[in-house]
Amino acid sequence: MTDDIKICVRNLYKIFGDDPQGALEKVRGGMSKADLQAETGHVLGLNNINVDMPAGKTTVIMGLSGSGKSTLIRHLNRLIDPTAGEVILNGENILDYNERRLREMRKHEMSMVFQKFALLPHRTVLENAGLSWEIEGKNRKKYAAEATKWLNRVGLEGQGEQYPAQLSGGMQQRVGIARALTSNSDVMLMDEAFSALDPLIRTDMQDLLIELQAELHKTVIFITHDLDEALKLADHLVILKDGFIVQQGEPQHILLNPNDPYIEAFVSDINRARVLRVRSVMEKTDVMPADIAGEVDYDDTLESIIAVSEGDTTNNYRVMREGKQVGVLHMRDLVRALVPRHPGEAA
């Protein structure tokens, strides 16, 4: 990819216990998480993590509970310090920062949205949204305009004087997002930001995030345990299991080429027609096929194509991108892509 890399994680290890450095040697020597715990009582949180997070894109880190995803995101702003490794932001290793520089970074360059919202209950919505300005020592008058702008942007017009407890969960998380946006930082860390919300509201919030992203192009690092959510939001998907990265890359690619039984088990349950797009299954060619049934867009989902074709599996479609042909879609390939590869085939 030619994207700029905003955050770059290199050889990151985190071991919890009394003597992490001693345990680190054993892990580097190839000891597994279970063996390490049984033998030394140390918990291997993260095991040799390497991720490049592209600027202006959404990187989703997905894994089940205990996979280390929340630990990983807390390394990006050093709420947790690693046992070994580097976290490079804009070319600087943030592990070299002193406390003062670290606070500057947290104030201006990274903001965070939390699963349990973590708003200050004794402050109004407006005062919560303006938190990062207040930490700078600016008073309410100075940040009111900026905070109100972002509160309005996330759909909280006229709620500024309420207290967080007076709002519903979804609205509270909107305050959380407004608080992150008001800090005007480039990077937004979202730790299971929508996991505590009920499904319909969650969908709303995902749409809101996509909308904001299209407009603002922040570098978003999003943690989730929900594959549907991950596929909906991700430009770059990282799948964690037991503290190491099983697979990372473009979500469509992972879906079509899972390299591990763990991921196959994951992807077998989802609605592939809704997630996969024409570009992932088309044949790349600029030769005009003989019998085309119509034109479709490069970014259409397979679900919409099935609707267009009315179930006819013999059709071929011309795939268009910005008015030019980029490929041909054979309905036969489309149908084949809907069935997950058999686990035996993967190896």
């Binding site: 709420l79 965070m112 939390f114 919202f117 973590a118 930490i135 207290y163 407890a165």
Partner: protein, 341 residues
């Protein structure tokens, strides 16, 4: 012939003990024993090898009376140097108590009672409570307890204020360091369980009974515990997620303390203040033994000269005072809780 003679003889310590025969008589029991002559002692009568019992056999071992006397001598020996340090440190307490007592007794009742009502309204925002305060002070003044009530109130105000002034920072220090917490908890436990009369005794030795700080210190030592404990607890109970958010947005430790931890711990701190005020009131009665003025003096008079009516009425006065102090601080607490929900 004492019980443990053989013990010292077999250990060969007789020489070290010195000649024990005819050692000084120490207790009534000894005298009785002497008078009754040497009765046959059975195994059942074997005394516990206490200081006194061992002393009977061996003069070199001190009696328990020597132990208590030693403590007393020791205290008296350091008393003067202790006074040099403690006296100036606590002198402001005397001044504060004297001045507040003077002020509350000098301001005439027709200004004082409306002022107390105003304070109640400012704190509690409840007309019902203001009515209760007016009623209680009206009643106490009507039965000629006004002077004593004001004295008690003055002492409580000063002592509770100092408790909060010292207690909240101690509580904060405890919440920030497990080591401080571990070392403070036994001290707090001791202050809370030691009978208040016990620490009145060394205080009497240390200061003259005419000094107000004598009872001031006693009240503060007794009443400071809840505000310390609940400040510590309140800050430790602040939601870790919120603290994490404060960290993630780059707050300094000081900002975290004043903008997050203390405001969120305020309901607990206020509950501690409420308890502290109630305990100062309890102690103010006991402190009248060492010259604290106020309703306690009337209670004491009731006991000393068996004036049942005075005792009962002043007891009732203390209860009424306790009720309004409790209600007013609880109303303040409820307002804080309502604002945080």
């Amino acid at each position: 012939m004492a019980t443990y003679d053989n013990f010292f003889d077999t250990l060969g310590l007789r020489g070290w003990c010195g000649d024990s025969s005819g050692g000084g008589l120490s207790s009534m029991a000894d005298l009785m024993g002497q008078a009754g002559g040497d009765a046959d002692t059975t195994v059942w009568d074997t005394p516990f090898p206490s200081l006194d019992a061992l002393h009977d056999s061996c003069d070199a071992i001190p009696q328990s009376r020597d132990l208590t006397q030693g403590l007393e001598q020791g205290f008296l020996a350091i008393k003067d140097s202790l006074k040099v340090v403690v006296d100036p440190l606590t002198q402001p307490l005397s001044w504060a108590l004297e001045d507040t007592l003077w002020l509350m007794q000098t301001v005439p009742w027709f200004i004082m009672i409306p002022m107390l009502m105003l304070i109640t309204y400012a704190v509690g925002r409840s007309m019902k409570l203001v009515g209760l305060v007016a009623l209680v002070f009206g009643f106490l003044a009507f039965i000629d307890f006004y002077e004593h009530t004001m004295q008690t109130l003055a002492i409580i105000f000063v002592c509770a204020f100092i408790c909060v002034l010292l207690g909240v920072p101690i509580g904060i220090a405890m919440s920030r360091s497990d080591r401080v917490q571990r070392s403070m908890i036994p001290i707090l436990d001791m202050l809370q369980t030691l009978p208040p009369f016990v620490y009145l005794i060394p205080l009497i030795f240390l200061f003259s009974v005419t000094e107000p700080k004598l009872y001031g210190i006693a009240i503060i030592l007794y009443a400071i515990v809840p505000v310390v404990r609940l400040t510590d607890l309140g800050i430790r109970l602040v939601d870790q997620d919120v603290i994490e958010a404060a960290d993630a947005f780059g707050m300094t430790n000081r900002q975290k303390l004043f903008k997050v931890q203390i405001p969120l711990a305020l309901p607990n701190i206020m509950a501690g203040v409420n308890q502290t005020i109630m305990m100062s009131l309890a102690m103010v009665v006991i402190a009248s033994l060492v010259s604290a003025p106020g309703l306690g003096v009337l209670v004491l008079r009731g006991i000393r000269s068996l004036e049942l009516g005075v005792g009962l009425l002043s007891g009732l006065g203390i209860v009424l005072l306790a009720i309004i102090l409790d209600r007013v601080t609880k109303a303040a607490l409820a307002r804080i809780n309502a604002s945080q929900k």
